[in-house]
């Protein structure tokens, strides 16, 4: 958002002083991430990872992976939400998410059927959180109906609430809400879009 607002009358005076020095920024940013980590003032680390379904945003707190977001959710908006709901101390710190990125890469390559990552479920609460905690019970390559998940979560009538829990899943792919489909076999909606849901289920049945 910041553009060159420099008064044009003196622009030439400072022309040799680069507006953006990529090398210096990279070096200083790495130093800041390290120092902020040591000082305990890096609350949310994030990075993106390229997948067949587009770039995924990954964000983690000290406790674990807290958010996975598709590009259609607007990564800038998601980071803004994280700053508001968790802490404004948000930094691009890819190394802190290497493990999650590696596991997602393996998953999309068909070489991984489950995730073994520390998770931070603080963005979900109540019944939604209960629903999320049951999603990993649905085996890789299989599906369950919204009604079956509602029953598993202890409230068979809360079919619609299961749909909401899936739609607001802060950790899609990792918590496999894409395996929850309608009782009539129709795939239904998905936070990453219906095509992404289809692609994930196809990946899992092909592997």
């Amino acid at each position: 958002m910041t553009t060159a607002r420099q008064n044009s009358g003196v622009r030439d005076l400072f022309a040799v002083l680069p507006e953006t020095d990529e090398d210096a920024q990279r070096r200083l940013h790495a130093r800041l991430v390290a120092e902020a980590g040591r000082a305990g003032v890096l609350d949310v680390a994030y990075r993106t990872v390229d997948t067949p379904l587009g770039a995924l945003l990954l964000a983690a707190t000290g406790k674990g992976l807290v958010r996975v977001a598709y590009a259609r959710e607007d990564h800038d908006a998601v980071l803004e939400q994280l700053a508001n709901s968790i802490s404004p101390r948000v930094l691009h710190a890819p190394a802190r998410l290497d493990l999650a990125a590696d596991e997602l890469e393996e998953y999309f390559a068909g070489r991984r059927t489950g995730f073994d990552l520390p998770l931070d479920l603080r963005l979900s609460s109540g019944f939604r959180r209960t629903v999320l905690s049951h999603l990993s019970d649905i085996a890789y390559g299989s599906t369950a109906s919204y009604a079956a998940v509602a029953a598993a979560a202890g409230n068979p009538k809360a079919v619609r609430a299961v749909g909401t829990a899936c739609a607001t899943n802060p950790l899609p792919v990792v918590l496999p809400c894409h395996r929850v489909i309608r009782s009539d076999g129709v795939l239904g909606q998905y936070v990453g879009g219906a095509d992404a849901k289809h692609a994930l289920l196809t990946l899992e049945t092909a592997a």
Partner: protein, 159 residues
Amino acid sequence: MQRHGPTVLRVCRAVLGPTAADDAWSETFLAALRAYPKLRPGSNLEAWLVTIAHRKAIDHLRAESRRAVPVGDLPEQPSTSPLPGGWESDLWAALKELPPKQRAAVAYHYLAGLPYADVADVLGGSPEAARRAGADGIAALRRTYPHTPHVRGDEGEAS
């Protein structure tokens, strides 16, 4: 906050030169991270960062003047590999000759884009004094800094 990284670095470089700018930038953003949760929503982030950077710059200038006393000639900055003809040699040499207040006013107004009312908040004093410091600084740079625009623009070849 990260969006303002390049601007704050440019400001630190103009105020402190190549050697201390990196440290001041790092200290500014670390301090900003610490204080961020207390920042009022809707605050002008860039002005806030410049304010922090200004305090860090003052710390550096004080430390430098303390160090400068016992040493006769300051050694040439050894580790920053200034490019021949780059900003480190010519522009910084000219900026360094300005009184600190003028240098700061020039950097905060012309590089960070802060209005003089905000520059005055950072520096202390009135907006008029800040404007004067900025204008005097630019005028002095035009006299001392060799790469003035009309030399390049009119002659087609820099002398």
